[in-house]
């Protein structure tokens, strides 16, 4: 039975139990609703909640553990010599799951593995059947228990409202859970990485070449995991992006806020916001196929040697993407400056631009710094533009015409395609992710603090 069908079945059971609970309440009331503590729908909702929630909880718990339990069952039966070699083990697990899915006819593997594949298929069938049984029995059990509890003076409304409150708390806790999930998954794999590579070497090493040998017979270098070239590349592209986004974003915010007629604003403002809504993969395509060749050809005319995957192309396009971000944030900040300051300046005979430059801008500076920091954190974490338009070569250069690589590009290249578990190459992506997460988090917290403080000053 497929998952969607199972969910539909549970939903149908919920509807049914709603009907039962309501019917029972109506029957108990003897025709007069005032004999009941709550409205009949509350009784219905009560039974429906007791039918659906245990089933959903069981499903969730089941899926959290099913994978690892099945894998443990399969692995425990594999011969010892496969278990000892992690590369062989992951290969074996792959072929086992292929055989179990019925796609393993062409594989030439040991008979133990074929057996394990059959056993896996068996276990999977049993597991999905067991899931159906467990979920449906949970639903039916909840239904019958709650159905029996219904009496005329049961506080059904209070009960269902209490359940609703717990469900809402659980939903809010998901925000915490996902942060915890991010931190733990990154930390776990990164620590794993740091047992193989010295963290100091990772953070301060000057050479990045993660291509280690996958099989013993391959010729490859040791692999170097010094992330400084990546940080330099990221900073270079971020710097270029900020050089584009900050002046353009600030000036357009000023113009929109102070000079533009309402008609102009009504057209230009949404048009600017479109820039923020374009998916990053589109910008990446634009950077790689339009901007980069344009820069290369024009650079050649000027006698400059522009690489076809230059930092400049990626940075320029990223800057364009961030313009609306900077402009809307700084617009926000500048409109917070109290009117009295502005009026005072006008009263002294200052022109608009003098007021903006000498009064509003200095007053809003902390907020604008916060906005720019938020934009920087977004530029650092941006992935698709750099994946498509910046290169893979870990050059350590400040020359924007050359190819550089960034943290996000490396995460993508390390994790897309064939992965082997437990190799320093794959794990290094998580270490990079951890650095990325910490840096952007730090920037955000700091920027939000700055903006907050600034707001309090004028509130």
């Amino acid at each position: 039975m497929s998952l969607s069908f199972l969910l539909l079945a549970v939903a149908a059971l919920c509807a049914l139990s709603f009907y039962f609970g309501r019917q029972r309440a109506v029957a108990l009331s003897g025709g007069r609703h005032s004999n009941l503590h709550s409205l009949p729908v509350h009784y219905g909702a009560y039974t429906a909640a007791w039918c659906g929630l245990p089933a959903l909880a069981l499903l969730l718990i089941w899926y959290m553990f099913q994978g690892s339990v099945i894998e443990a069952l399969i692995v425990s039966d594999l011969p010892q010599e496969i278990l000892e070699d992690s590369g062989r083990l992951s290969l074996a697990l792959n072929s086992i799951s292929l055989i179990a899915a019925g796609n393993g006819q062409h594989l030439s593997v040991e008979p133990e593995i074929v057996d394990a594949g059959r056993r896996l298929a068996n276990i999977q069938t049993i597991a999905s059947a067991a899931l159906v049984v467990v979920m449906l029995s949970g639903a039916v059990l909840g239904l019958s228990l709650s159905y029996r509890k219904i009496t005329a003076d049961m506080r059904a409304r209070n009960n269902i409202e209490r359940i609703a409150r717990y469900v809402m708390i659980a939903c809010s806790a998901i925000a915490i859970l996902s942060t915890v999930g991010i931190v733990f998954s990154l930390l776990f794999e990164a620590l794993h990485f740091f047992t193989k590579i010295n963290p100091l070497e990772f953070l301060f090493g000057l050479e990045w070449s993660p291509q280690t040998a996958i099989r013993a017979d391959q010729v490859a270098s040791e692999g170097a995991f010094g992330a400084i070239p990546l940080f330099v590349g990221t900073l270079l592209i971020t710097l270029i992006a900020m050089c584009v986004a900050v002046p353009i974003g600030l000036f357009s915010a000023v113009y929109m806020g102070e000079y533009a007629s309402p008609k102009f604003r009504a057209i230009a403002k949404p048009a600017l916001e479109i820039l923020a809504g374009v998916p990053t993969v589109v910008y990446g395509f634009f950077a790689a196929l339009t901007v980069a060749p344009f820069l290369r050809d024009n650079g050649a005319i000027l006698g400059l040697d522009v690489s076809s995957e230059s930092a400049l192309a990626a940075g320029l396009v990223m800057g364009i993407m961030i313009i609306p971000f900077v402009s809307s944030l700084s617009d926000d900040v500048m409109s917070q400056v109290p009117k009295s300051l502005r009026d005072g300046s006008y009263g002294l005979g200052a022109t608009k631009s003098e007021t903006i430059r000498n009064v509003i801008f200095p007053a809003a500076l902390p907020g604008i710094v916060g906005a720019v920091l938020l934009a920087v954190s977004r530029a650092i974490g941006e992935t698709m533009i750099v994946v498509m338009a910046a290169g893979l070569a870990a050059n350590m250069t400040a020359n924007p015409l050359q190819a550089v690589t960034t943290v996000t590009v490396q995460i993508v290249t390390l994790l897309v395609g064939d992965q082997e578990f437990d190799s320093a190459k794959t794990l290094s992506a998580f270490a990079l992710g951890l650095v990325l997460f910490l840096v952007t988090l730090g920037l955000n917290v700091f920027a939000l603090k700055v903006v907050q403080k600034y707001r309090e000053k004028y509130d």
């Binding site: 939903c171 809010s172 915490i176 990154l186 820039l275 634009f286 608009k352 996000t408 578990f421």
Partner: protein, 449 residues
């Protein structure tokens, strides 16, 4: 720099003013007039900078749009070549069984090759023949088979039919391959160009609307590749995202806005939501890879995993928008409901939520539009696989529109450039549609209390 300079200027000006304060200012003096003129010029310059900044931003938008549009519009048309095909019974159904299974196995590719050889009888060498077969796409034989299966009476007849052409011929016909450049610098040799010219003169080359682009899945052959598979994958992914993030987001927003006591838990949740909104999307991909794939062992490349990952990503957007919408409902509504004896939960479900719903829906649609355009986290969880089949459910391997764009943008064939641009146009059309719906909802149900 300019700040310093202007500060110095201001100081100097202040000194002049304080010196001048002793005597009455002559407002009509040429010095004052010059000064005012200078200040007004600065004002105009400043205003101009703002206009230029907006102009640059809008110019970038226009360049983006025209670059995509001019590269992509031609992908909606496909070159077809007219050939005389003899439906040879000896090839299709030698025993005359009429059994669809037999017909389905027949060598239709051979039929097309035969008719190409008939069309250009002077081609004899092996490599020339291979070039000749490139005129018609490898997928044309499937079209031919379907045609025969639909209408078995064709067997034994000779018909003139339009066949989908190979990608290089398509590029030549659309003008992307310039036949005037040196032979070594283009994908087609002189002989192939002369065949093309001969076919054009005979009126046997035509551009037709390319429905296959909208109905088929991915393919290694540009002329056969379509976006339907990716669109369906996007649909399932968004469905999972919506099914998870909408109820969870709305319930969390209701709790935080209406019920949450001001305590440590609430504070942590609020800080967390604000921070999650700013976490780079690729980090969510790493989370998905680790938790959903490595720990929970959910299927790789499946829309379920993509949807789960994107749900976590859109959750902050939905929660923040929903909270704003709930906050906008005036307290008098709540007081009236509570005064009439409704419980707090009833007040929320019967009054506050329905009134806040347009705002919540607008926020949700915007969050979904973001999720639709998201690429990076889906690369992490293996939705970049090359998948030809149209996914039949949320557990089948699939890809999504933005990832399809990324994959095609990486392909070396020239013909994929126009496919990529066309796929971008389709993606943008969806986004415009969704955002338009959000704007419409906001306009229609916007309420001033």
């Amino acid at each position: 720099m300019t700040d310093m300079a202007s500060l110095m200027e201001d100081r100097a000006a202040a000194k002049v003013i304080s010196d001048n304060l002793r005597k009455p200012v002559d407002w009509d003096s040429p010095k004052i007039a010059r000064n005012i003129k200078k200040r007004y010029a600065a004002e105009r310059r400043f205003k101009m900078y703002g206009l230029v900044a907006i102009g640059i931003a809008l110019l970038a938008l226009c360049m983006l749009a025209t670059s995509i549009g001019s590269k992509g519009y031609s992908a909606f048309y496909q070159t077809y070549v007219q050939l005389e095909v003899h439906f040879d019974p000896a090839v299709i159904d030698p025993d005359g069984t009429g059994d669809p299974a037999v017909i389905g196995r027949a060598n239709f590719d051979g039929l097309i090759k035969q008719s190409l050889r008939d069309r250009f009888p002077d081609v004899t060498s092996r490599s020339d023949k291979r070039d000749l077969y490139g005129i018609v796409s490898g997928g044309a034989s499937y079209d031919l088979r379907e045609r025969v299966l639909e209408n078995p009476s064709l067997i034994g007849q000779t018909r003139t039919i339009w066949l989908i052409s190979g990608d290089d011929f398509d590029m030549l016909n659309k003008g992307y391959i310039d036949p005037t450049v040196a032979e070594g610098d283009r994908r087609l040799n002189d002989q192939e160009v002369s065949w093309y010219n001969e076919l054009v003169e005979a009126g046997a080359v035509e551009k037709q609307f390319h429905t296959r682009f909208f109905t088929s899945g991915d393919s290694r052959e540009p002329e056969l590749a379509g976006i339907w598979g990716a669109a369906v994958g996007s649909f399932y992914t968004l469905l999972v995202t919506l099914a998870l993030s909408f109820p969870i987001g709305v319930l969390a927003a209701v709790y935080l806005e209406e019920f949450a006591p001001k305590n440590r838990f609430t504070q942590i949740v609020e800080v967390n939501i604000n921070n999650l909104a700013a976490v780079p999307s690729i980090v969510f991909g790493l989370l998905g890879l680790e938790v959903y794939l490595n720990v929970m062992h959910l299927p790789r490349s499946a829309p379920v995993v993509g949807g789960l990952t994107l749900a976590l990503m859109t959750l902050p957007t939905i929660i923040i928008a929903s909270r704003a919408a709930i906050k906008a409902v005036p307290p008098s509504i709540r007081q009236a409901a509570l005064g009439l004896g409704a419980s707090p939960v009833q007040t929320v479900t019967h009054h506050v939520l329905p009134l806040a719903m347009p705002g919540i829906l607008t926020g949700t649609i915007i969050g979904m539009a973001q999720a639709l355009g998201e690429t990076a986290p889906l690369l992490m969880i293996g939705m970049v696989a090359f998948i030809v089949d149209i996914p039949g459910g949320a557990l089948d391997p699939a890809t999504v529109l933005p990832v399809q764009i990324y994959l095609w943008a990486d392909s070396p064939e020239r013909a994929f450039v126009e496919k990529t641009s066309a796929a971008i146009m389709v993606l943008l059309a969806f986004l415009v549609l969704m955002n338009g719906l959000a704007v419409y909802l906001r306009k229609k149900f916007e309420r001033k209390w």
